[in-house]
């Protein structure tokens, strides 16, 4: 390594727009290996259900607000959907600490690339980079602290919304219609499978994701449902041609009310 010509090391260093590489070199202690006892792992908060659904204009992402540690509620207000950049978002599931950190590192990575290169990464490039970051977490995943996010964004070149899921080793799989991740994901997926339609409007898609999250919170003890007592509702974000946008909490609350009211009336899901 050291006998390479000097100009080559300059080439490798300065044409590298990766923030993760910069951090690894400048603050290696952040990448030190952590060893946890199995009994401690059970005490670590886990994020539960996040999902992403494609609709006519792009993709919608949503997540419940609960973090669960063993049989305890660790947090009722955690946010699991993060803006990655103007045209993409990450939904985190798995060990909450490393997952939130990964989302923050991923945001910085994309922004850093954009500033250094003067242009943003392709959606495919962003998805691959996230896969590599999940693989970096493999030593922790082997100890029970897996992080498995979902990634969704608007592909400006193709003019469509796209979504990706991952496995613990960083394997990346593109999904066409919908995807859910986390402890309640199976129930959410079952629900989405029945409700998802081609070319849904934004409002229809919003209704579908809330139905799926309510189903997940019904069946999975770790997933939190709409909380009318504390005023806590799922996080919902949309990504379309105009970029990453919020769905206002008041609107999410209204849809939650409608869903719950209908289920109460028909006795469905009781």
């Amino acid at each position: 390594m050291n006998d390479q010509p000097r100009w080559l090391s300059v080439f490798n260093d300065l044409s590298n727009a990766s923030f993760v590489d910069v951090l690894r070199r400048e603050q290696p202690h952040l990448f030190a290996e952590i060893r946890l006892r199995p009994e401690d792992v059970a005490q670590v908060p886990h994020g539960t259900t996040v999902l992403s659904v494609s609709y006519r204009e792009g993709v919608i992402m949503a997540g419940d607000r609960q973090a669960t540690a063993g049989y305890q509620v660790a947090s009722r207000r955690i946010e699991k959907i993060f803006k990655a950049d103007d045209y993409s978002g990450v939904g985190i599931a798995g060990a909450a600490g490393p997952a939130v950190e990964m989302a923050k590192l991923f945001q910085t990575e994309l922004e850093h690339y954009e500033k250094v290169e003067g242009d943003s990464l392709s959606l495919e490039g962003k998805a691959n980079k996230l896969g590599q970051m999940i693989r970096m977490n493999l030593p922790l995943a082997m100890q029970g602290l897996a992080v498995v996010p979902i990634f969704a964004g608007f592909d400006a070149k193709a003019g469509v919304g796209r979504l990706f899921k991952y496995d613990v080793t960083g394997g990346k799989y593109e999904e066409a219609n919908f995807e859910a991740q986390g402890s309640g994901s199976k129930d959410a997926r079952d629900s989405l499978k029945k409700l998802w339609k081609k070319d849904m409007t934004r409002d229809e898609a919003l209704r579908v994701v809330i139905e799926a999250l309510v189903d997940a919170s019904d069946e999975d003890v770790g997933t939190g449902g709409p909380d009318f007592v504390r005023n806590i509702f799922p996080t919902v974000r949309t990504i379309d041609r105009d970029g990453f946008g919020d769905v206002p909490e008041a609107e999410v609350r209204r849809v939650c009310e409608v869903v719950i009211a209908e289920r109460t009336k028909t006795g469905n899901g009781a």
Partner: protein, 231 residues
């Protein structure tokens, strides 16, 4: 190996400074102005791909004149500095002052220790965040590490003195963006025998009214309109 001839340190510094100044004087100029809602950076740059002005962080922008490869290195180093700091502490802890100091140290070291000094001047601008007492900051760092903080306006590059003279006479506080662009273009025009159009310019603003990342580029129709319709 033969012994090198003795050169007095004084002479050596003088030669280096002259060398750096000559290099910078060959380059085109950059103007920076504070306007009502932020800071404007405007450079004469016929290339739309090789930038002289860049975003560094949420409220911080960078501009460089002189040798492209040298200020490009400094630009990337600055972005790394800012991103590492913002990631390890918080976004609010990244300041133009710390970045300008780092540039000053780096350029000072290069000037005294390397055979060839950098032929660059760089500028670091930070727009006020709108909180009470927060002010715009503009730092101008020279090839030898000399650092100055500038108020209202700054100019660097080949004809910086002429530009500064023009700005001193015509600058007013609280300009609109259109007026600021017009004034900056006028100031650059003073130094040329042709009239600059939008295609000869690279323009960036730190816009206080935006949230989070305040930097944006102005080009094409938007820029032409600002250059033309300002009153």
């Amino acid at each position: 190996m033969p012994l090198p001839y003795y050169v007095s340190p004084e002479q050596m510094m003088k030669d280096k400074a002259e060398y750096a100044r000559k290099g910078i004087a060959r380059g085109r100029s950059i103007v920076t102005l504070e306007y009502g809602e932020g800071i404007l950076l405007l450079a004469e740059n016929p290339s739309s791909l090789l930038h002289k002005i860049s975003e560094v962080y949420d409220r911080i922008a960078f501009a460089g004149v002189g040798k492209y490869n040298e200020f490009e290195n400094l630009r990337i180093a600055g972005i790394r500095h800012a991103d590492v700091k913002g990631y390890s502490y918080s976004r609010g802890d990244v300041t133009a002052r710390a970045l300008a100091n780092a540039y000053s140290q780096a350029l000072g070291n290069i000037f005294t220790q390397d055979i060839k000094p950098f032929e660059v001047e760089v500028l670091v601008a930070e727009v006020a965040d709108g909180n009470h007492g927060s002010k715009n900051e503009i730092y101008h760092i020279l090839y030898d590490g000399t650092i100055e903080d500038e108020k209202n306006y700054a100019a660097m590059g080949g004809q910086a003195d002429e530009i500064r003279r023009h700005l001193k006479e015509h600058y007013k506080e609280g300009l609109s963006l259109g007026d600021a662009v017009k004034l900056a273009v006028q100031a650059l025009n003073v130094t040329q025998n042709k009239t600059l159009t939008a295609r000869d310019l690279e323009v960036g603003v730190l816009d206080r009214t935006k949230t989070r990342r305040r930097f944006r580029r102005l080009a094409g129709d938007v820029l032409t309109q600002l250059m033309g319709t300002a009153s």
